[in-house]
C-alpha cells in the first residue's frame, strides 16, 4: 500500500520516467505507475468494448485488460513486431496494460525541464498529456495515465453500447455504418 497515486512527486534530481515510442514520437510515463514490462502475449478479445481495448491477457493468474495505445490516440495502426511490448501500469490499485511499439529507457527529468502541455501542435488529444519533458534536444510527451482508461469514459461507452447492442447482434454491418 506504499504507492499512493503521487502527482509527479519531484525529488531534488527530478522524476524518473519510462520512455517508449509510438511511430517516431517519444512518450514518457512516471516510473512509479509502471508495474512491469512484458512481451506481447496472446490476447483474448472481449465483446462489446471500445476498439482501443484489445482484450485481456493472463498476467500470472490475473486477468488484465490491454489497451492499444495507437488506437487510443487515434494514430495509424502498425503491425505488431517482436519489439512490441506491453507496459503493465498500476493506477489506484487497478492494473491494465498498454501496447507500445518499443520501450526505450528510463530517464530522469527535473521539474525545470517539464513544460506545460501546448494547446496545439500535438498529434494526440491534449487531455492525455500531462506535460512536455525536455532532455537536451529531445522532447518527450509525458502522459497522464489516469486518463487512458478513465471510469467515466468507459461508463459512457458502455451505456452508449447498451443502446446499440441489440441492433449490432442482428445486423452487425449495418450498425457499423
Amino acid at each position: 500500500m506504499a504507492d499512493k497515486g503521487c502527482d509527479f512527486t519531484v525529488t531534488v534530481d527530478g522524476t524518473q520516467f519510462v520512455t517508449f515510442c509510438l511511430g517516431d514520437e517519444e512518450y514518457g510515463i512516471e516510473i512509479l505507475k509502471v508495474q512491469e514490462i512484458i512481451g506481447l502475449s496472446s490476447i483474448t478479445r472481449v465483446p462489446h468494448l471500445p476498439d482501443f481495448i484489445k482484450g485481456v491477457i493472463n498476467l500470472r493468474g490475473i486477468v488484465v485488460p490491454v489497451i492499444d495505445l495507437r488506437a487510443r490516440f487515434e494514430l495509424a495502426m502498425a503491425e505488431y513486431t517482436d519489439r512490441t511490448c506491453i507496459i503493465i501500469l498500476k493506477v489506484d490499485d487497478r492494473i491494465f496494460g498498454i501496447i507500445v511499439d518499443t520501450v526505450s529507457e528510463v530517464i530522469s527529468i527535473s521539474q525545470d525541464n517539464i513544460q506545460p502541455t501546448p494547446s496545439f501542435g500535438s498529434r494526440i488529444r491534449t487531455e492525455f498529456i500531462k506535460g512536455m519533458g525536455k532532455i537536451g534536444e529531445r522532447l518527450v510527451i509525458l502522459l497522464d495515465v489516469e486518463r487512458l482508461l478513465s471510469d467515466e469514459e468507459l461508463k459512457q461507452l458502455k451505456e452508449a453500447h447498451d443502446d446499440t447492442t441489440t441492433c449490432e447482434k442482428t445486423d452487425h454491418k449495418e450498425y457499423r455504418l
Binding site: 496472446s42 483474448t44 478479445r45 472481449v46 465483446p47 462489446h48 468494448l49 481495448i53 482484450g55 485481456v56 491477457i57 493472463n58 500470472r60 493468474g61 490475473i62 486477468v63 488484465v64 485488460p65 487497478r94 492494473i95 491494465f96 482508461l149 468507459l154 458502455k158 447498451d162 447492442t165 441489440t166 441492433c167 449490432e168 447482434k169 442482428t170 452487425h172
Partner: protein, 564 residues
C-alpha cells in the same frame, strides 16, 4: 500516519463488535429458552462489556450509553434480582439492534450521525426499576440460588482462546495465493510437456527419469496446494444459520404462533461466495414456513399435533454439493389450490393440469407471477415470492426441490455447489476464440448443417424436434464471422424456460475452471460472466447465457415494433 492507525483500530473495533453482538444475539435466544443458563448470561454480559470498553476507548458516546444501560440491566439479571422474561428479552434484543445500527453507521463513516437512543435508554431504566416487586424482600433473602456467578473475574479470559487459533486475513490475499497456485499448475503443465519432449529425444535414460519423478511430485503438491487454498475460503454455514433463531422467534411472536427451530449440520463448510448468496433464499423459505406452513396452536391441537410447530434446517455435504433442507410439520401444500390458481393465472391449461403429477404441480409455485396473486390470502400454502427464491438459488448454480404432504408438512431442499470458484464448463470455439459455457445450463449439443438454420422474421432459428429455437452465432459476438460455413455444432442452453441455440465451430470438451473476475473495467459486459485461465495459460471468457438470452429477447421486441 496517525489517522491511518486510527482507521485501522476503528476497523478492528467494527469487526470485533459485530462478531460479539452476533454472539450476544444468539446467546439471548438460548437464554430465553433456558433462563437459568448462568454461563450464557455471563457470556452476554462479558461481550456487552467488551463492546463498551472498546467504544469507550474510541469515544463512540452513543454506543457507550446504550451498552452501559444494557449492562446495568444484565447485571440485575445476573444477580437474579430480575427474572428473565419475554419482555426483557425483547428489550435486550432491541438493544442488540440498536448497537448493530450504531456500528453500521460508524462503518459507513457516518460517525457524527445522531441517533435517538434516549427512548431505549429510558425503557431500559424503567425495566431496571420495575424490580421493586421483589425489591422489598431483596435485602433480606438473597433471591434464588442463581447468585453463584463470579461477577468480575469472568471478564478476564475474554478472547484468549480465539486469538490462538485464528487470524483474520483479507480475502484478497487468499485470492492472490489462489491465483499463484493456478500459475503453478500452468508451469507444471509446461514442465510435463518439456519432459515428454526430453523423452522423445533422449529416451528413458538417467536424468530424464529423475525429471519425471520430480514432476509427478510437483503434480501432487500443486493439486494439494490448490485444494488447501480453496479450503481457506470455506466457512461453516453456521454463519448464515445463526441468524435464524432470532428471526424465527420474532416472526413467530408477531404471528402469535409457537415455533421451535432445530438446526443440524451447522458446521458444514461452504465457499464464502455461496454463504453470502444463500442467506436471502433461506430467509424467504423460513418466513413462508412460519407464515403459511405452521398452523396456529389451537388448530394444531385439533389435529392432534403438538402445539408447538417445528422447523428443522439441515445442512450436509453430498459429493461436490451441499444440501440444505428446510422442513416444517405444518399443513403442507394444497395441490388442489395450486391447480386452480395455475389455471386461473393461465400458467397451464386445464388439459395439462390433469396430466401433471403432484410434484410437477408443486413446481408451479416457482413460476413468476404465481406469488402475487397468493399474497393477499394466507389460506393456502406457499407461494410468496418463490420465483425470487428460485432465481437466487440458480444464480449460484443451485437447484431447489419441494416435497409436501398435505396435513403433514413441507420439505424444501436446496442443492448448491460447494464452491463457486470452480465451475464445470463446456469449452467451445467460435470465430477463432474459445469460450466456456457453464455446464449447468447446457441442455444438449448437436451437429448441424448450415442449411438447417432458417430465417423467420429476420431471426435465425432451428427446428429441434418440433421446438423452434433461436440461434445466436457466437462468432458474431466478437464481430468477426468465421469463413468455414459448412457443418457446425449447436449448443442448446437454457435459463429457466428460455432456450437458445449457440452456433459454434467446434466443441473442445469439458473443463473444470476457476472463475476470475475481469476487474472493474470490464464488469458488466453483456453476455460475459467472467474469465478463466486454461491449462495453456490463455484467458478464456465465460459466457453469461442468461444475459445473452435476455439480449436476444430485446431484439424480439424491436422486431415486433418494426412489424407493427
Amino acid at each position: 500516519m496517525s489517522t491511518d492507525g486510527m482507521e485501522e483500530i476503528i476497523k478492528e473495533f467494527i469487526v470485533e463488535a459485530k462478531e460479539l453482538i452476533d454472539g450476544v444475539e444468539q446467546n439471548l435466544i438460548t437464554l430465553e429458552k433456558n433462563p437459568d443458563g448462568m454461563d450464557v448470561l455471563n457470556d452476554i454480559f462479558r461481550s456487552v462489556h467488551t463492546i463498551k470498553g472498546a467504544a469507550g476507548f474510541l469515544a463512540f458516546e452513543e454506543v457507550i450509553e446504550v451498552t452501559h444501560s444494557a449492562e446495568d440491566l444484565l447485571n440485575e439479571l445476573r444477580k437474579g434480582r430480575l427474572p428473565v422474561t419475554a419482555d426483557i428479552m425483547d428489550l435486550l434484543l432491541e438493544v442488540v439492534d440498536a448497537i448493530k445500527e450504531l456500528i453500521g453507521d460508524i462503518e459507513k463513516g457516518e460517525r457524527e450521525k445522531k441517533h435517538n437512543i434516549s427512548p431505549l435508554i429510558e425503557r431500559l431504566r424503567v425495566a431496571l426499576e420495575s424490580k421493586p416487586v421483589e425489591d422489598t424482600d431483596d435485602k433480606k433473602s438473597p433471591p434464588k440460588a442463581k447468585v453463584k456467578a463470579p461477577p468480575q473475574e469472568a471478564r478476564e479470559d475474554k478472547g484468549g482462546r480465539e486469538t490462538e487459533h485464528y487470524i483474520r486475513v483479507d480475502i484478497g490475499r487468499i485470492d492472490s495465493v489462489m491465483d499463484l497456485a493456478g500459475e503453478l499448475v500452468l508451469i507444471r503443465n509446461r514442465l510435463t510437456n518439456l519432459a515428454s519432449r526430453l523423452h522423445e529425444q533422449y529416451g528413458d535414460i538417467g536424468v530424464v527419469g529423475d525429471v519425471d519423478s520430480a514432476i509427478s511430485e510437483l503434480n501432487v503438491i500443486t493439486t494439494d496446494l490448490q485444494l488447501a487454498v480453496m479450503k481457506m475460503r470455506m466457512q461453516p454455514i453456521e454463519k448464515v444459520l445463526s441468524k435464524f433463531p432470532r428471526m424465527v422467534r420474532d416472526i413467530a411472536r408477531q404471528r402469535g404462533k409457537e415455533v421451535e427451530l432445530i438446526i443440524r449440520g451447522e458446521d458444514t463448510e461452504l465457499d464464502k461466495t455461496v454463504i453470502e448468496e444463500i442467506g436471502d433464499p433461506l430467509v424467504h423459505i423460513i418466513r413462508n414456513a412460519i407464515d403459511h406452513g405452521i398452523e396456529p396452536s389451537d388448530e394444531r391441537d385439533e389435529q392432534g399435533k403438538p402445539r408447538k410447530g417445528t422447523i428443522t434446517i439441515t445442512a450436509c455435504q453430498e459429493g461436490r454439493d451441499i444440501l440444505i433442507s428446510i422442513e416444517d410439520d405444518g399443513r403442507g401444500i394444497n395441490t388442489e389450490r395450486i391447480r386452480e390458481k395455475a389455471i386461473k393465472l393461465g400458467l397451464v391449461s386445464q388439459k395439462d393440469v390433469e396430466k401433471m403429477r403432484e410434484r410437477e404441480l408443486m413446481e408451479l409455485i416457482f413460476s413468476p407471477g404465481f406469488s402475487t396473486a397468493e399474497r393477499t390470502d394466507d389460506i393456502s400454502g406457499r407461494g410468496v415470492g418463490m420465483d425470487v427464491v428460485k432465481t437466487n438459488v440458480s444464480r449460484i448454480n443451485g437447484s431447489i426441490f419441494i416435497d409436501s404432504l398435505p396435513g403433514k408438512g413441507t420439505k424444501i431442499t436446496i442443492r448448491v455447489p460447494l464452491t463457486l470458484a470452480i465451475i464445470h464448463t463446456l469449452t467451445v470455439e467460435a470465430g477463432g476464440e474459445l469460450y466456456a459455457i457453464p455446464l449447468t445450463i447446457v441442455i444438449e449439443n448437436k451437429r448441424i448443417e448450415e442449411e438447417e438454420i432458417k430465417t423467420v422474421n429476420g431471426n435465425e432459428v432451428i427446428n429441434l424436434r418440433d421446438e423452434i429455437i433461436r440461434v445466436l452465432r457466437l462468432d458474431n459476438l466478437i464481430g468477426k464471422g468465421s469463413e468455414n460455413r459448412c457443418s457446425k455444432y449447436i449448443v442448446v442452453v437454457g435459463a429457466g424456460e428460455k432456450r437458445l441455440g449457440l452456433l459454434v465451430d467446434r466443441l473442445h470438451g469439458q473443463e473444470e475452471i476457476v472463475m476470475k473476475s475481469m476487474g472493474d473495467y470490464m464488469k458488466g459486459i453483456q453476455g460475459v460472466a467472467g474469465a478463466c485461465i486454461t491449462g495453456s495459460g490463455r484467458v478464456v471468457l465465460v459466457l453469461d447465457v442468461g444475459k445473452l438470452i435476455w439480449g436476444m429477447e430485446g431484439i424480439g421486441v424491436n422486431m415486433d415494433k418494426l412489424v407493427v
